[in-house]
């Protein structure tokens, strides 16, 4: 059909951050939807967020409760959420109990009462909670047609009255094929609560949505005091990438290192600092952030092993003032609750912080800590998630510095235990070497995707003023193994 002849389907905001994007813009107006899932997975809260986001006094929301959670208790619990607006109760949002109608008059009684209320109130939204209870009262042999007729009539009634509808039910996936309500529904939202070891991960799937393209697959969501927040599995992978007309180099805050890197980190790059414990990765990351603050570039630190105050306190031990930018909003330290995090949440948190602060620099300290903070089920595809996250964040133009703890071996030099070096544009390797009976530290710039860099292996020290880079260790060979030999007596091919 020609574009101008198509009916325009209005999209309503769901009131759930992230869900509109998953749905392809919002919920189709006048659609007849089902929210399904096991008890406790957030079905009622999702419906409440939607009604409080859309209902008005002129076009209210009617919330029919049937035999499930008593409305008094529902109100008791739901008012704890920030989206709950008491001023809308009984005006824009009206709760109506249908239990008696179901008990005394069955499905026909329920249909008549809904029709009566809908005709009287002219609602824009209708919710029936729990719809499964309604149907189950007649779900026995020989009654299939009664149920099917009821569902058809209800859908017809509510659509005719221009209501967007949600039917809530504790359905199991095996019912999808047999229950007539799934055939009639325009939208099918399935909420899951998956337990993996000791952690719980919430996911949702839009199994069906007529009239528009939703994002397929399972999307994680979280329930907080603000209600549900959904994270599209394609978060950050769609949309325009920020491009730079010319390469701008960001200082690492260590002049000698900037020089080794050919001027600093190219803006928009992802830099990996790999090294074993105590080599100064976090300090280098902190110096990178502090240099940005000095240059008027707001920053974000995503830390997993210490709290924001501990982080700034440690910086101050090296003469770096992060407390002031933290207080004035040019620095944000994100400390996310550990152990049941999803990569999507982390990414959303950072993207929100970028919007808030206009950050140009991001430090993730460390990837190992990040992985540990994830729920076990997300650790399985950590590499893929990391790829998505780095892609999404660099797309908004932010420069990322990630630290990575490496097991120290004294026979070889590996760049990354996660095999993620391909994800990063630039790599700096820090490590210990044994020289003259001392454990000293060396660093090298291994990779700079966009430019020429120094090939030197240089000694460095961690001082009260931060990292001080020394000279190239010309007198030794095999430095990268950690057990160098004096250069004298060893014949090299260039000699």
């Amino acid at each position: 059909m020609k574009e101008q002849n198509k009916v325009k389907i209005n999209q309503l905001p769901t009131g759930v951050p992230g869900l509109d994007e998953i749905l392809g813009g919002g919920l189709p107006e006048f659609s007849f939807n089902i929210i399904a899932g096991a008890p406790g997975c957030g079905k009622t809260t999702l419906a409440h967020q939607f009604i409080f986001a859309n209902a008005t006094v002129e076009r209210p929301a009617l919330y029919f409760t049937v035999m499930g959670e008593p409305a008094l208790k529902m109100l008791r619990y739901q008012q704890q959420f920030t989206f709950f607006d008491a001023a809308k109760l009984n005006s824009a949002v009206r709760f109506i109990n249908l239990s008696q109608d179901l008990i005394e008059r069955g499905l026909q009684g329920v249909l008549e009462e809904i029709a009566k209320q809908v005709e009287a109130a002219n609602p824009s939204i209708v919710v029936v909670d729990s719809f499964r209870t309604v149907l189950r009262s007649e779900m026995h042999e020989g009654k299939e047609m009664v149920v099917q007729t009821f569902v058809q009539q209800l859908a017809l009634l509510l659509t005719s009255w221009e209501a967007t509808t949600f039917l809530i039910g504790e359905y199991s996936e095996t019912e999808v094929r047999e229950n007539p309500v799934f055939t009639v529904a325009d939208g099918l939202f399935w909420l899951f609560q998956q337990v993996d070891r000791n952690s719980v991960v919430r996911k949702m799937q839009i199994m069906k949505l007529r009239g528009q393209a939703s994002v397929p697959g399972l999307h994680t969501f979280r329930i907080t005091e603000d209600g549900l927040q959904a994270f599209s599995r394609t978060l950050g992978l769609v949309g325009q990438r920020k491009t730079f007309n010319r390469v701008k180099y960001l200082s690492m805050g260590i002049p000698a290192l900037d020089e080794m890197m050919g001027g600093g980190v190219p803006e928009g790059d992802s830099l990996l600092i790999a090294g074993s414990s105590g080599t100064g990765k976090s300090l280098m990351a902190t110096q990178f952030l502090a240099a940005g603050i000095r240059a008027g570039e707001p920053g974000i630190a995503a830390v997993f092993e210490e709290r924001p105050n501990e982080y700034t306190a440690r910086a101050s031990e090296f003469g770096l003032d992060l407390q002031t930018p933290l207080a004035n909003g040019t620095l944000e330290v994100i400390y996310l609750r550990p152990l049941d995090l999803s990569v999507d949440e982390m990414m959303q948190e950072i993207l929100d912080a970028v919007k808030r602060t206009g950050a140009k620099r991001l430090v993730i300290d460390s990837l190992a800590g990040f992985e540990m903070a994830l729920a076990p089920s997300f650790r399985a595809d950590f590499r893929e998630s990391l790829y998505r996250m780095i892609f999404a964040l660099t797309a908004v133009g932010i420069t990322i510095l990630s630290t990575l703890e490496m097991p120290e071996t004294f026979t070889e030099l590996s760049f990354s235990s996660y095999s993620i070096s391909f994800l990063t544009d630039d790599i700096i390797r820090m490590r210990y070497v044994e020289i003259d009976g001392q454990l000293r530290q060396i660093l090298m710039v291994v990779k700079m995707r966009r430019g020429v860099h120094s090939r030197d292996i240089r000694q460095y020290e961690i001082t009260a003023d931060g990292i001080i880079i020394g000279e190239r260790l010309k007198s030794f060979v095999d430095l990268v193994t950690g057990i160098p030999k004096p250069r004298s007596g060893v014949l090299r091919f260039d000699e």
């Binding site: 008593p70 409305a71 008791r76 008491a86 709760f95 239990s99």
Partner: protein
């Protein structure tokens, strides 16, 4: 812990509702009591919210609690339709105890703010009912 029904403000509100409904009764109507009118007016919106059976449960619980405070109410009962029976001229003086318990139960379940809003919607003519909600919100 003090129950919401025992709060002076709840008792005062209950008494105001009784007084207000009492002032609306036409003496020619015979055996109509203010406490019965308050319960009848609450029955509509509460039954819509929790169903007629839910309203009966709440009122029965409120009456049980009220009888502890005022044994004189021992003859009062809740009919299956949610109305009161056994009221008499002698006992209705203590009607505010029952209403305070009913309001107290509502406050316990859904909080003071929502309860006052529900009451305001029922008694739109009650002097100061809107101000009461606003005061609560500002607090």
């Amino acid at each position: 812990m003090m129950r919401s029904a025992d709060e002076p403000t709840t008792r005062e509100l209950a008494q105001r509702l009784i007084t207000y409904e009492g002032s609306q009764i036409d003496p020619a109507d015979g055996n109509i009591y203010a406490v019965g009118r308050v319960c009848d007016k609450l029955r509509g919106p509460l039954a819509t919210l929790v169903g007629p059976a839910g309203f009966c449960s709440l009122l029965m619980r409120a009456l049980t609690l009220a009888k502890r405070d005022a044994p004189v109410l021992s003859a009062w009962e809740v009919r299956p339709d949610g109305s009161l029976e056994g009221l008499s001229d002698e006992t209705t003086q203590m009607g505010a105890v029952l209403i305070a318990q009913l309001i107290g139960l509502m406050i316990t379940f859904i909080g003071e703010s929502l309860t006052l809003r529900l009451l305001r919607d029922v008694w739109v003519d009650l002097p100061d009912s809107a101000a009461m909600v606003e005061r609560n919100e500002s607090e």
